[in-house]
Amino acid sequence: MRILAIDDTKTLLSLLSLTLRNAGHEVAEAENGEDGLVKFDQFRPDLVITDLNMPLMDGIEFTRACRARPAGQNTPIIVLTTENGAEIKAEGRRAGASAWMVKPFEPNTLLGLVARYQN
């Protein structure tokens, strides 16, 4: 699968890509929501995994913006964050996020979640 990974913490981003690449996915990286949108248009991913708290454009804004463009309406967006509050989740849901996973992620768990979107 072609996956776009968005996280402003470089280490985490690298770890995320490493996990996904080792599982045979093709990964593009972005450092914040804004960068994510640019990469989204270039890379046309099958799935997006995004962090929530990021500078410039956070994960919620990114999800909204992504859902607002035709190409982004059918792409599952997994929010991968340490946040786990009901309010923020509801906001994520309204923005159009498909799944919510709480950091830290266990590689196999994440890959399992990703696999569920694989056809």
Binding site: P55, E61, R93
Partner: protein, 766 residues
Amino acid sequence: MDPLAELKQTFFQECEELLGALELRLQALDEGSTDPEDVNAAFRAIHSIKGGAGAFGCTELVAFAHVFEASLDHLRSGRVALEDAPFALFLRCSDAVADLVSAARNDEPARPRPDLLAALEQVGKAPGAAPAAAPPPPAAAPAPVAAPAPAADAPLGVAALGNLLAMVEAKTASPSNVDAGWGDEPAKPASTKPGRTIILRIAPESDLFRRVIEPRVVFASLPADDIVSIVCDLGQVPALETIDVSDCFMRFVVTMRTELSVEDICSRFDFTLATEEFQIEVVEDAAAAAPAPAATAGNAEVSGSVAADLSAILAKLGPASPSSEAAEAAPAAPVAVAAPVTAVVEAPAAKAAARAPANDAAAARQRTAVSVRVDLDRIDKLMNLVGEIVITQSMLVECVRSLPYDVYAKTAEGILTLSRQTRELQDHVMAVRAQPVKAVFQRMPRLVRELAQTLGKEVRLVLEGENTEVDKTIIEELADPLTHMIRNSMDHGLETPEDRIAAGKSPEGTIKLIAEHRAGRIVISVTDDGRGIGRDRLLAKARSRGLVGADEKLAPEEIDQLIFAAGLSTAEVISDVSGRGVGMDVVRRNVESLGGRISVDSEPGRGCKFTLALPLTLAVLEGMVIRCGADRYVIPIASVIETQHLASTPIEHLTFGQEVLRWRGEITPLHRLGAVMGSSGTRNENIIIIAETERGDNVGIAVDEIVGQQQVVVKSLEGNYGTVHGASAATILGDGLVALILDVDSMLRLAATGERPPATELKLAG
């Protein structure tokens, strides 16, 4: 190194920066800042640390950071007002995080901090009470409290994360089985399975597909083996003309035979479905559960092979795909007849909400400085290369001199431009290497806080000139001397609150740490308002150690300088903090080895000020090029006080052969550089350079000629050649020859011992 270990290293590096930012922001807030960005940045910092720590399995760090983050979140959300927030506690917590990070980095067991965790948990619960609830200092909180495992101290962190992990794991246990479970395999008879029957009524909101959630993804949250049947209710599907395929109209009734608790099932739909979107009905009697719920008109029972078909349709339908596949599937079920739709769906509410954060984002963009992380090694290479260009350029100048005039004029013009550009390039590269002293200053508040606690003193630390820039190499060397100086001031300089009150001062002592640029050097001073240097005690001690003669009279300032003498500590009790007798003399030695100077001014009863002056860089040096016989040397301009003609200077000989001259009324020793360094060629000494030693004494150095003054690139001798007495380093001059950079003090020692350096061997063209 394997990529993971490498990532881990990077993470710890990032942690350092994040910790710095965290502390800085908390400090700003502690000092009364109301800028929401300070709160946000602090929150983001701890958030990022937590995220990374989790990825690398640093559980203690995650647990602590989580609780810390949660309390900071109270500030962010406004649940706790800034003025009520216990920033002192937060600062101690940021120290604790730093400890946990370094423990994780070194693979050491982390010290559990139940005291801090407990205090953090109180934040937001009883507004205003939190600061009072601050725990006792860590030194006073010994083992018994710390006994339980760290994980147990942080139920919030580890437990919550663990639950969620378990949840997602269960969901994904075997995704492929899900389809098989309600596809190829016939549903298992309900009664053969242990547990009870649960009927789940799922009525997703119409936006399900817009969140790109397919119904099968919803069902995949449940263990496939537990699902008895899934019935799809199509009764809500509107008339074909009005249908919007991006809306979900399906309702489902899932019958399960399971041992899962209701809470567990709820948690599995967490996020995918809101609590209003499903109902759970528990049927304890297994017999009653066997038949599927009564089917209403328009319902389709999904079982056996039909289920497989429907699941395929749902899968295609799910993402509101306008593809031809959906059209192909049309005959299978009436829902799929829908025409392809490409409408862009966006709820008006979402639009409005998107607008507000956009402004924040624009503001954030302005605040975020664009920067690149570069390996110091690369900059060093660049610096070296610039050095080479400088040398090549001066070589060109020498070559051009021999050209005929018309050619010379043009070439000289070009070379002049080149030299200006080279100089600029050098300045820029130096600027890249330059860093604000903030990196070092940032560590001091923590030191002061911890020491203040250990010593039972009240101390306020004032930092000034944190943005003063200095070369990276110097930055690294600053930490030790500064730490020593601050320890010294806090331990020996500042009095206890009781003593201060008795002396008519405020109970809180002040230490000022100030950095500034002065005369091409960076000057850092540590000033305290303590009791000053106890001159009587210091002198008595110096006399008892034989450093000062029994009847020798010293001026007050001279006594103060004794603080730098080896092995002198006047603290009554040798404490943990400082005063092991390896204090200021070591600082002084280190500073001097960097080409710096340290001095002290003390006023009894009023305080004490240490001043540290260091060159801005160790990479280039402004030097005076001199000649002695056939050899040339460079004397750092900083060491040169004055030059004069030898002929006009009366020279006297002391009985043991030492030459002296009278300079400004003072007897000053004179050394002939050529003789000391063993220069080759015939010497004809014409010039005396009056230089200053590190101790502030003056010395005359006789040389043949002053060649010029220029900036030279310092090349380490130890790294490339070996130690050369009398010289601190070498450089390459315009003609490509090596010249030694003299170290006045080392040269004087050489003159005293008479050891000759192997100078001639050094003349390998560079």
